[in-house]
Amino acid sequence: MSESQKKPVTYIKTPIALRYDYSVGAGSSIFLRAMREGRIVGSRCPDTGKVYVPPRLFSVETASPMSELVELPDQGVVYTYCIVNIKFYEQVLEVPYAYAYILLNGADLPIMHLIQECPIGEIRPGMRVAAVWKEPSEWTESMENIRYFKPTGEADMPIGTIMDGIRKKSHA
């Protein structure tokens, strides 16, 4: 291309890549190490009785140290959800797909995960779901040991009432 045909510079490319030896901290380490064994754990606040998952060392509301670990089932109820319709860079799944905040039975803080094996239009707050796991031989220290949550087919839970109950536990 001759010089006169080259367009003037209007932008430059400046990619960056930074490497980290990331350390997840105490609470998340306990959670992920339990995940490796196929267990979901949380911690209980001594002031409000609320169960946080993943566990924290300190209560999010009262800042009290938490020491009580609680085992949680891999079943719960959808609190709220989002349907992803937009394609974005490095997306893994085909759109549309859905993920949700799921309140595991006994927890007072929802976890986030995918909802699959369910027509998008049928996902709703209050829907009861259960985890679908990878094969135990594939388990690592990762949330991805659970592939997704799917509806159990049981009758819906009154999620509004459940959330009201959780709010009442707050240390005002």
């Binding site: 430059i12 400046t14 960056i16 930074l18 490497r19 980290y20 030896d21 990331y22 350390s23 997840v24 901290g25 105490a26 609470g27 998340s28 924290r56 060392l57 300190f58 209560s59 999010v60 509301e61 009262t62 800042a63 707050s170 240390h171 005002a172």
Partner: protein, 352 residues
């Protein structure tokens, strides 16, 4: 104008790498300690402001996760500075000057720089068009400033080593210090240069840590603390970023900030200088016109620990702590960010 004072200070022991806890878990005990030390609870805090940089953790919005340490329910009045926590102190101070409703503020800083490569992370704060693509690291840039000082005959490599030796000597009386000792400057100069003329001792250590101070106004401060460290002046200024446009033997922004804060010409018992590199300590002494009797970096300065994004706030905490304990009457604290002392904050603290 309202009188605002620092009434309490706490920090984590300075360590090379935090192996067990994440940011929230590191901050929570420091916040608890600073409140407990004066018998306050979270409910007594009217405004909270923190300083940190998400680039240290490599995670956008990572500072939000640290809020778990505050017990932020019911919702709290809170703000954040992406950068040095000394500027979070500034924001809290201005907030308190402007409004009677803020009687007590909590300011904290934190960072786990050990997880990444600080030298390479800091590279990205340079001009993204002209400098960052070449990846000039922080030590090399500080070395360019050191060279200009040597060329001008203003100081020597021996002067730099003596600054390091002074900091390490003072750090011996700091139970939280990461580094301390009584090195012979001549021996320090035997080490190979990293980016000439700078050697290991001229550079800041890598430190993970968290720190916090409490601010209180007027009679509230007197009720909380027997001898509050009153902020008599606090100001910050900034120079151009590009090194090629600056006279690197000077630091106009530090000088201007010091003048605006009222730090020049008065009594100075102690001065805590946030000088990441030893030549910068020399420059700051000159710009701040520190009197001969001033004890510089009684805490050990940067060598006692460099919990990046909290280091500047620690300087204010260390001066305040000495005033509160009655070991000093008036002191100057300094914080910096940006390459080669680009941006500087200076404060004057005084006991009543």
């Amino acid at each position: 104008m309202r009188e605002i004072a620092i009434v309490a200070f706490a920090q984590t022991p300075n360590r090379r790498r935090e192996l067990y806890r994440n940011e929230a878990e590191m901050v929570a005990p420091v916040v608890a300690e600073v409140l407990n030390s004066v018998g306050l609870s979270r409910r007594d805090v009217d405004f909270t402001c923190s300083g940190s940089s998400d680039y240290l953790a490599g995670c956008p919005f990572s500072f939000v996760l640290a809020l778990d340490a505050l017990g932020a329910w019911p919702p709290i009045h809170e703000s954040h500075v992406e950068g040095e926590a000394a500027w979070a102190l500034y924001e809290a101070w201005v907030k308190m000057l402007c409004g009677e409703e803020v009687g007590v503020s909590l300011v904290y800083g934190f960072g786990r720089q050990s997880m990444g490569s600080p030298r390479d992370v800091m590279t990205l704060m340079n001009d993204p068009y002209l400098e960052a693509p070449l990846r000039p690291d922080a030590i090399s840039l500080a070395a360019l400033q050191a060279r200009v000082l040597l060329d001008a005959g203003l100081c020597s490599e021996r002067d730099f080593a003596e600054i390091a030796a002074r900091n390490l000597r003072h750090a011996q009386s700091n139970p939280l210090a990461q580094l301390s000792g009584q090195p012979d400057p001549a021996e320090l100069l035997q080490a190979p240069t990293i980016a000439s003329p700078l050697r290991r001792h001229d550079c800041p250590p890598i430190t993970d840590g968290a720190c916090a101070v409490l601010l209180a106004a007027g009679d509230r401060a007197r009720a909380i603390c027997e001898r509050p460290a009153w902020i008599r002046g606090l100001a910050h200024r900034i120079d151009p970023q590009a090194l090629g446009r600056r006279d690197l033997t000077r630091c106009p922004s530090a000088r201007l900030a010091a003048v605006a804060a009222g730090a020049i010409g008065g009594r100075v018992d102690v001065a805590e200088l946030h000088a990441p590199f030893t030549p910068q300590d020399w420059i700051l002494q000159r710009e701040l016109d520190l009197p001969k009797g001033a004890v510089i970096n009684p805490s050990g300065g940067i060598h006692q620990g460099n919990p990046m994004m909290g280091t500047g706030l620690v300087r204010f905490g260390e001066v305040a702590a000495r005033i509160i304990r009655g070991e000093a009457d008036r002191g100057v604290a300094h914080g910096t960010q940006g390459p080669c002392l680009q941006q500087n904050i200076v404060g004057v603290l005084e006991g009543e």
